[in-house]
Every structure is written in C-alpha cells, then in structure tokens.
C-alpha cells in the first residue's frame, strides 16, 4: 500500500462521511415534531421556542440548515447538548475514551482467543476439538452482547465472585490525573501499578462480553481459511519433509490464512462500537454509549447527531487502518501497489 492508494482510500471515506452527515442530519430534521419544542419541553413558552428556532436556523430551508451545520462542524462545533448543557464536543471528549478503551481491549481479546480457536479447529479438523471449537464459535456469534454481559456477570460476578461487575475502578482506588482519558494509560503515566491492575481487572468481564461475537466470527473464518491453506501443495510438501505440525500451522499456513480474517476485523470493530452500548449498560461503564442512550431518550438533537457522527468516523478510520494493515501483511498487495 503506497501513498496514492491511501489517499484514494481517504477520499472515498470522505465521500461516505459527508453522506453520513447528510443522512443523520436528514433523520434529525425530517422526523415528526418540532426539534425546538422537543428540546425545550412542554413547559416552554412560544417565544422561547421561536427564539431557539431562530438560533438554530430551524426556519430556514433544509439545504441552508445543512450548510450552517457543516459550517459549524468545520469549526469543530457540534452544537450544545441540552442534557448536560455543555458543548457536545466536550461531552464526547469526556465519554469517548472509556468506550474506545473498552473496544480496543475487546478487539485484543477477540484476536487472542478467536485466532487460536480457529487454528486448533482447523488442525483437529473433524475431531473433538474441532466440533467443540465450532460450537463455541457459533454460540458466540448467535448471542447478543448484553446476554453475554448478563451471563458473565451472573456466573463470574455473583455465583463465583472473582471479577468486579461494575464501573472502571474500585471505590478505594484513586482516579489517576486525566492525561489521555484511557485509564490503562493514565494509571501507568501516574506510575500507579496497583490502579493499572485494578482497571485491567474491571475490564475483564465487559471486554469479554463485547468480544464474543467478533471472536466467534474470527474463529469461524480462520478455521475455514486454514483448512483451505492446508489443502495446498506447499503444505503437503512441508509435511512430506517432516516439518513439525506446530511449525506448519503457526509459520506457513497461518500467514496466508490470516489475511481474510484481518479484513473482517474492521467490520467487527464497528459492530463493537455499536454493541458497546449494550455492554456499557450492563456493566455501568461510564462511556459514550451511556451518554448516547441518555441523549436519545431525552431527544437531545445536537448530542444525538454528534454521537452518531463520531462513531461513524471512528468506524471509517478503523477500516482504513485495517486496509493499510492488510497491505503490510500481504506482500502481493504491497508489491502490486508499489509497482502501480
């Protein structure tokens, strides 16, 4: 992957991003009800509603409203949340890191568990570990994240209480000074190892619950790709030469089999950003999702638009990163791009 193709990819992402902003803007404006009236509540006077309509350009034609919205957006202004009474960007900056931290740790869990399950399944194809692995993967895919959350909480938080079931830190653990907003990083920056471990400890159950669906997909795809590679002549040759099965699996078969898996990781990460809403509710996680649900229930227009836009942007960026990574891992794409 060279700079030209990365540039093209960014261009396409920009088109999609503009499309998303139009879509969410249209949803917010076309839906029945007067946004100003909804925002101010039933007790507001007609003058107050009219004032807010004027302030937000709600009386202007839709294209003009959209243009005003874009103008504000280009200044980094997503409007004001009527729920927290603060700029939406401030709210998002406060809540996003906890959600991203949860999603990133989940992605790591997904890869660390999903890949080995898939590799073992392929290696023991048609035998007991394979059946077990496939069943686990299938059940993982079929179960909504909140169901995993509730089940994990019940078994590992109550019946066999080995993990905390709520929040990011224990009450007794001092919250580290805000540097990045990511607790795992902030605790290390503060040099507080105990707090770091506590934060990690609190991540175990929610991150596992969030990782499950992607973990299942990852295992299923890795298994079928590995099986395909196992049937290739060069693997047969390696077997004939007496290479040990472990070496064949981890060194020669895994790398080509991993590339298709890598491409779905972006999609799975996107699903996580959505499913985080469910997991955060189960585990009382102070992330963007809790904020998102709260503003949706309160019909807090600007905040809803801002939250959706940020999540869509995070998703797009993630997919571009995956594309670049695929290029790095796959020499054929890398070389083709280099020549082109």
């Amino acid at each position: 992957m060279n700079w030209t193709s990365i540039g093209k990819r960014l261009g396409a992402a920009l088109v999609v991003m503009i499309g998303i902003s139009m879509l969410i803007f249209a949803i917010a404006r076309v839906m029945p009800g007067d946004p100003a009236r909804i925002a101010l509540g039933p007790n507001a006077t007609a003058e107050q509603v009219a004032a807010l309509r004027a302030e937000r350009h709600l009386d202007a034609p839709l294209p003009v409203q959209y243009f005003e919205f874009l103008k504000a957006l280009s200044r980094g202004d997503l409007g004001k949340s009527l729920y927290t009474n603060r700029p939406v960007t401030t709210d998002i900056a406060q809540f996003l890191p906890a959600t991203l931290e949860l999603c990133i740790v989940s992605a790591i869990v997904m890869v660390l568990l999903g890949l080995p399950i898939g590799i073992l399944s392929a290696h023991f194809r048609g035998r007991m570990p394979d059946h077990l692995g496939r069943l686990v993967a299938l059940i993982a895919v079929c179960t909504p994240a909140f169901v995993w959350g509730v089940i994990l909480q019940l078994f590992f938080g109550y019946f066999w209480p080995i993990f905390p079931i709520e929040g990011q830190l224990m009450q007794s653990t001092p919250v580290p000074p805000h540097v990045t907003g990511f607790l795992l990083i902030d605790t290390l920056v503060a040099g507080n190892g105990a707090a770091f471990l506590d934060a990690l400890y609190h991540l175990v159950l929610p991150a596992t619950a969030l990782a499950m669906s992607g973990l299942g997909q990852c295992a299923r795809l890795t298994r079928s790709n590995m099986i395909e590679v196992y049937d290739k002549p060069y693997v047969e040759m390696e077997r004939a030469y007496g290479f040990r099965p472990f070496r064949i699996a981890t060194r020669y078969a895994f790398r080509p089999a991993f590339i298709p898996t890598l491409t779905i990781l972006g999609l799975e990460f996107a699903a996580m950003l959505g499913n985080a809403f469910l997991v955060e509710k189960v585990f009382g996680w102070p992330g963007l999702s809790r904020y998102g649900v709260e503003v949706i229930i309160r019909k807090d227009l600007d905040a809803i638009v801002g939250t959706v836009l940020i999540i869509a942007a995070a998703f797009l960026i993630m997919n571009i990163l995956v594309d670049i990574l695929v290029g790095v891992v796959n020499p054929r794409i890398r070389l083709a791009a280099g020549r082109g």
Binding site: V16, P144, F146, V150, G157, I296
Partner: protein
C-alpha cells in the same frame, strides 16, 4: 413461518441438496429448534399455562417465585409466569423479523439489481448511498432513528428495516455484476427482452439461493437487533412481553432473582442459534446442489 428450505429445494428436485441438509446433524437440530419455537409462538394461546400473564399483572401471591411447579421457569417481580411471557416474546420477535425482512429484502434486491445491471452513474450513486448506511454500526443507526420516534412496535420495525436493506443491496449487487456478463443475459438482450424481464426473470432467479440463505440467517439477527433495542429501552414498551426488555428488567433483581434475566437471555440465544444452524445448512445444501 414455514420451514424455510424445503419448497425451493423440492421444486428444483435437488435430492442432493436435501441429502446434504439432512446429513448434517447440526442443520437438523437447528430445524428442530426453529420448528418448536415457531409452533410455540403460533399456538401460544393454547400451549402457555397462563396466557393472561401477557398483561401488566400476574399472580401477586407468587411474586418472584423461583423455578418450580406450576411456574416451570419461575415468575417475575409482578408474579407473571416467565415461560408464558417468553413464548409470547417469541411471537412478537418472529412477527418483527418477518415484517422487517418482508420490507427490507425487496427494497435491497431492487437496488442491487438495478445498480449491478445498469452500471455507470446509477451504480455509483446507489452503491454510495448503500455504503453510507453500511458505514454506521447498525445498532447505532437504529438507535438514532428510534431517538426521534416514539418507542412502539411499528417504529422499532421501521428503524431496523431502514438499516437492514443495504445488506441485501450489497449481496444482490455482487451477484448481479457477475451474472450480467453471462451469455444468457447477452442472449436475452440480443432478442430484445425488456430490462424488467432481464432483471427479474433472468438475473433474479440466480440470486435466490444467496438471498434465501441470508434471509434465514437474518431472522435470527433481526431478533437479536430488536431485542438489543428493547434492552436499551428503545423498543417495545412494557407490559408487552419482549425478550430484550425482560432481560433488562430482570437484571435489576440479580443475583437473587437470577432466573428473571437468565431464561429470556437463553431464549434469545436459542432462537438465533436455531435460525443460524438452518441458514448454514441451507448454504451447504445449495452448494451441494451446484
């Protein structure tokens, strides 16, 4: 809900397909799960022990009773039989899934067919619109739509449909792109067949296996999405029995009332698993057929 695979398979006289489906114990297990759940949901009024527990109140003498006769799965905080409410929850979920797919599939199929066959600007514009929908996590988009609507059954289905059609558009688009190059399409064009004829009579039949497989899998995933929305309080409202809101409601009584959320949670798992197994079986059956 009929048993999804057989009519098509039978019409094609595909004994190999039937053999492939029946030969896989997991597919048969899935079919059994699906049939039992569908029968329960259809005959809910007759098979549930306490049909009147669908409403807001049950038997206050038996509030939060643990699983024991006569309440096989226990009762909730309102003294309502959980088994009864889960069966009615299944009925609601299945209705939602059927309605969502009945709207989303034709819309997606038409967009995919037209974009894939016409090419050029039509293709570019339709598929970029599709991309936009696919670029937002489905749950978030459905939530945002629900945010501006009242949380009712109708609006819930609307929100899920709005984010579901693009997947069918993508799927049919890819098949159409490949099929449009085939000789039989060229032949139809040469004899002057209308575009409508080519799209629906020539190309569409070749998309059916992929569409049917996806629809079967999606019954499960629409149920999953609908229960996720109602878990967040953005779907069907109480007292209507809904699996997602039952889990959310039950979670308040953990761990003492563990059955309150565990059974509905497992009920969701079971129905999604059933449709997934059948869908996977169908895919293998169609592959064996060709």
């Amino acid at each position: 809900m009929s048993e999804p695979g057989s009519p098509v398979v039978a019409r094609r006289g595909g004994s190999r397909a039937v053999a492939a489906f029946v030969g896989n114990p997991l597919s048969v297990l899935g079919l059994a799960i699906v049939v039992v759940i569908v029968l329960l949901a259809v005959f809910a009024d007759f098979v549930t022990p306490f049909p009147d527990h669908v409403g807001p109140i049950g038997d206050f003498a038996a509030m939060s009773a643990p699983p024991a006769s006569p309440y096989m799965l226990g009762t909730d905080a309102m003294g309502r039989d959980l088994f009864t409410r889960i069966v009615y929850g299944y009925r609601l979920s299945l209705i939602m899934a059927v309605v969502v797919l009945a709207i989303a599939t034709p819309v997606g199929v038409i967009v995919g067919l037209v974009a894939g066959y016409k090419g050029g600007w039509t293709d570019y514009i339709l598929m970029r619109i599709t991309d936009v929908f696919l670029a937002v996590p489905p749950l978030v988009l459905a939530m945002a739509i629900m945010g501006f609507l009242e949380p009712t059954l109708m609006n819930g289905m609307l929100a899920i449909t709005a984010m579901w059609w693009p997947w069918y558009a993508r799927l049919v688009y890819n098949v159409t792109r490949a099929e449009a190059q085939e000789g039989y399409v060229l032949a139809a064009e040469t004899v002057g067949a209308s575009t409508l004829h080519i799209l629906f009579r020539e190309i569409l039949p070749n998309c059916w296996p992929s569409i049917l497989t996806k629809m079967t899998l999606d019954v499960g995933f629409v149920i999953l999405m609908a229960s996720s929305l109602s878990f967040l309080g953005l779907g069907v409202q109480p007292p209507t029995p809904d699996l997602g809101s039952m889990v959310a409601e039950g979670a308040k009584y953990m761990p003492d009332g563990w059955w309150l959320s565990l059974w509905p949670a497992l009920a969701i798992l079971l129905v999604v698993l059933g449709f997934n197994l059948v869908g996977d079986g169908l895919r293998e059956a169609f592959e064996a057929e060709n």
